[in-house]
């Protein structure tokens, strides 16, 4: 038999669900201390998530997509990026975005039905939340192409879900990343579900990482609940991207512990046991165990930090709640760089309607 090509997909896991290491720390993590700020960030994100859900439940927020359970993947991705890189998220990677400077009040504004949430004070070139699934992957490929053409030492990172990895735009992104050898990292966050459709119904592929083979990209499958593995996977992908070796597809195995969004009821379609099992592998507990074992963390610290997080986030929530609605003419702002002549009358009419007694 003549063989035209062979491939192998590596799996990364360092920190096991029980909080013990399966071997030495990888290059991405020089020492255990380095994990501490990221662990705190995970707690911050989880606090934010809880509060956002509560806001939605009390009618103060629109539909909200929670990130419960994804914290290690999200924070690890954000931590791996340089400020000048560009991030193209889907709609729940707050952990990554906070690390890049996006503010919780901006997240709330967006889900609160206000475009101004997308006007990040923070990473000015990052993409806003992206509702049409996986189109952000292809925009990120375009961003990466622009970096390459302008010889900028920057990397574009996009995230999508297991469902999103079925989308043709995802395939287009990996195809072009391969064709142009782009500094692009495609992160597939496999949380087991795309609303009600389980991972197994999306594709016949045994891993989602292997989709990268279709474009000749580097492929890696990672325990996405293991912050250490996430950091190491991202380090490798960034290094490849920066050294001109092209794009990567990384599959992060995690689990969506919450409903898809606050508009969803996951009990309709998935069993309790599965969720219970998933809680045993979630990212926070194992890292806490590890850091506690290393004497880097304790209950008192945790209590203090959670309290601190609550305060920090309440400031953000208040900023959101106090922000007045945009005036009606905001509909016409930013439609074009300059409002075309034709539209002045419509804008004036809209304003006039507001002014009626």
């Amino acid at each position: 038999m003549t063989v035209a090509a062979t491939f192998e997909i590596e799996y990364l896991q360092y920190l096991k669900p029980d909080g013990s290491l399966s071997g030495p720390l990888p290059p991405a993590v020089p020492n255990a201390e380095a994990l501490l700020p990221l662990f705190k960030q995970m707690l911050y994100v989880r606090t934010f998530d809880t509060k956002a859900i509560a806001l939605q439940r009390t009618g103060k927020l629109g539909t909200y997509a929670a990130c419960l359970g994804h914290e290690a993947t999200h924070v690890g991705i954000g931590a791996s990026m340089k400020p000048e890189d560009v991030f193209a998220p889907s709609y729940r990677e707050y952990g990554a975005q906070f690390m890049r400077g996006v503010k919780p009040r901006e997240v709330l504004m967006y889900w609160g039905g206000d475009e101004r949430g997308n006007d990040f004070e923070g990473p000015r070139n990052d993409y806003p939340w992206c509702v049409p699934i996986s189109t952000q992957c292809l925009m990120a490929a375009g961003a990466a192409l622009s970096f390459k053409l302008r010889k900028q030492d920057r990397v574009a990172v996009a995230t999508c879900g297991d469902g999103g990895s079925s989308k043709t735009d995802f395939y287009a992104a990996l195809n072009s990343a391969g064709a142009y050898s782009l500094p692009l990292v495609l992160c597939v966050i496999n949380n087991g579900w795309a609303i009600s459709v389980p991972r197994a119904s999306q594709t016949g592929a045994q891993t989602l990482a292997q989709k990268g083979i279709a474009g000749g990209l580097h492929c890696l499958q990672v325990d996405g609940n293991d912050l250490v593995a996430v950091l190491e996977a991202m380090r490798r992908a960034h290094e490849r991207a920066r050294s001109g070796e092209g794009g990567s597809v990384i599959e992060f195995m995690t689990y969506r512990l919450h409903d898809h969004t606050t508009a969803d009821d996951a009990r309709r379609y998935r069993g309790e046991q599965e969720v219970k099992d998933a809680w045993l592998k979630e990212p926070f507990l194992r890292l806490r165990k590890f850091l506690t074992d290393q004497k880097l963390w304790d209950e008192a610290q945790e209590k203090a930090w959670i309290e601190e997080c609550g305060k920090l986030i309440d400031v953000e929530i208040n900023a959101y709640l106090e922000c007045p609605v945009q005036p009606v003419e905001a509909m016409f702002d930013f439609l074009y760089a300059e409002l075309p002549e034709e539209l002045h009358a419509q804008r004036a009419a809209a304003i006039a309607l507001e002014k009626r007694p």
């Binding site: 459709v197 509909m331 809209a350």
Partner: protein, 329 residues
């Protein structure tokens, strides 16, 4: 009998799907989350349990895939009813709809055809996130070979969906999600389809013709009510089948009223209202005593939900336009 309970528009859709699934083996339903989850709006609730996963298919998360599989199945003799989860997600389907669904019969001189339905929950006003509120019927109305259908009541939703599924050609069936649960009415599950090429006159009047479709039928009827209080008698026409258009019904009404206001939710410029107004300019010139008016979304994107109601046509806006028209005589 379950027939005897009043049902909402979305339940009428479920009822029509179930009817055809029962009566025609070649009907299958496909889309994202249409299976065990019953659809994000619950339009397919219970169908998977009744008809099984070989009739009610969850698809991988890709609208191109949904459109392509649907055309493929339809051209091989099945009658697939596909769902785009929201209006804002159907753009990737345009290629298959325009290049293949609309042309299969024409291109092959009748050898193959494409008896499919694409269901698209449509329009704003439900406080949903971005891309969940679009009114994009105009993407399809300039495409020959398609039918674009838009129900606005439980009974019409049922009868038009049956007709759409049975029609031998591709039908884009746009569902006004804002009024999915607006009110309930008795809709006998009798399998009676409605015609796909007539407008519905929902209210008779003599002073002005109000032409609309979809969710705006609600505001338009309310506006007619308000106008009546001011002594203005408005006829209300629901253009439930946008293409092929039944303009005769509209022209007949204008011959009587001499005035026409068109109401729709999509942006004004080149929205489907333009076609109705154009026909007025071509065919009703000598009947019209007042300029035609369009009350529509502005020529901007529908904003996120904090502002969306200000974007949409409202009873006030319709009444004002009608009064401007009736000022002419």
């Amino acid at each position: 009998m379950s027939d005897a309970k009043p049902i909402a528009l979305i339940e009428a859709i479920t009822q029509a799907l179930a009817y055809e699934l029962r009566n025609d083996d070649s009907v299958v339903v496909l889309g994202e989350d249409v299976g065990i989850n019953g659809g994000v709006f619950r339009a397919t609730a219970g169908l998977s349990a009744t008809f099984g996963t070989e009739r009610i298919l969850d698809t991988p998360l890709d609208e191109t895939t949904i459109a392509g599989l649907t055309v493929g199945m339809a051209s091989q003799g099945m009658r697939p009813v596909a769902e785009a989860q929201f209006d804002g997600f159907m753009y990737p389907m345009v290629d298959f709809i325009v290049c293949h669904a609309a042309r299969m019969r024409y291109r092959t001189r009748g050898r193959l055809s494409c008896p499919m339905v694409l269901r698209v929950p449509w329009g704003g006003g439900i406080r949903a996130p971005e891309h969940h509120s679009e009114a994009n019927e105009s993407i399809f109305t300039n495409v020959p070979g398609l039918r674009v259908v838009m129900p606005s009541s439980p009974a019409r939703a049922y009868g038009l969906l049956l007709a759409a599924i049975r029609d031998p050609d591709p039908v884009i069936y746009m569902e006004p999600k804002r009024i999915y649960r607006q009110y309930k009415e008795l809709v006998p599950d009798d399998g009676e389809a409605l015609p796909l090429d007539v407008c519905f006159v929902l209210r008779d009047g003599s002073d002005i013709t109000l032409v609309t479709w979809g969710a705006q039928v609600k505001e338009t009827l309310e506006a007619a009510e308000a106008l009546a209080k001011d002594g203005i008698s408005a006829e209300v026409i629901d253009v439930a089948t946008l293409t092929p258009l039944d303009f005769a019904t509209i022209a007949e009404s204008i011959a009587k009223t001499g005035r026409c206001v068109i109401v729709h939710e999509a942006a004004k410029t080149a929205g489907f209202g333009a076609e109705i107004a154009a026909r007025c300019a071509e065919e009703c010139m000598f009947d019209l005593v007042a300029p035609v008016e369009r009350v529509t979304g502005y020529d901007t994107h529908i904003p996120l939900f904090r502002l969306e109601m200000k974007y949409l046509p409202s009873v006030d806006k319709i009444v004002a336009a009608a009064k401007r028209a009736t000022a002419h005589s």
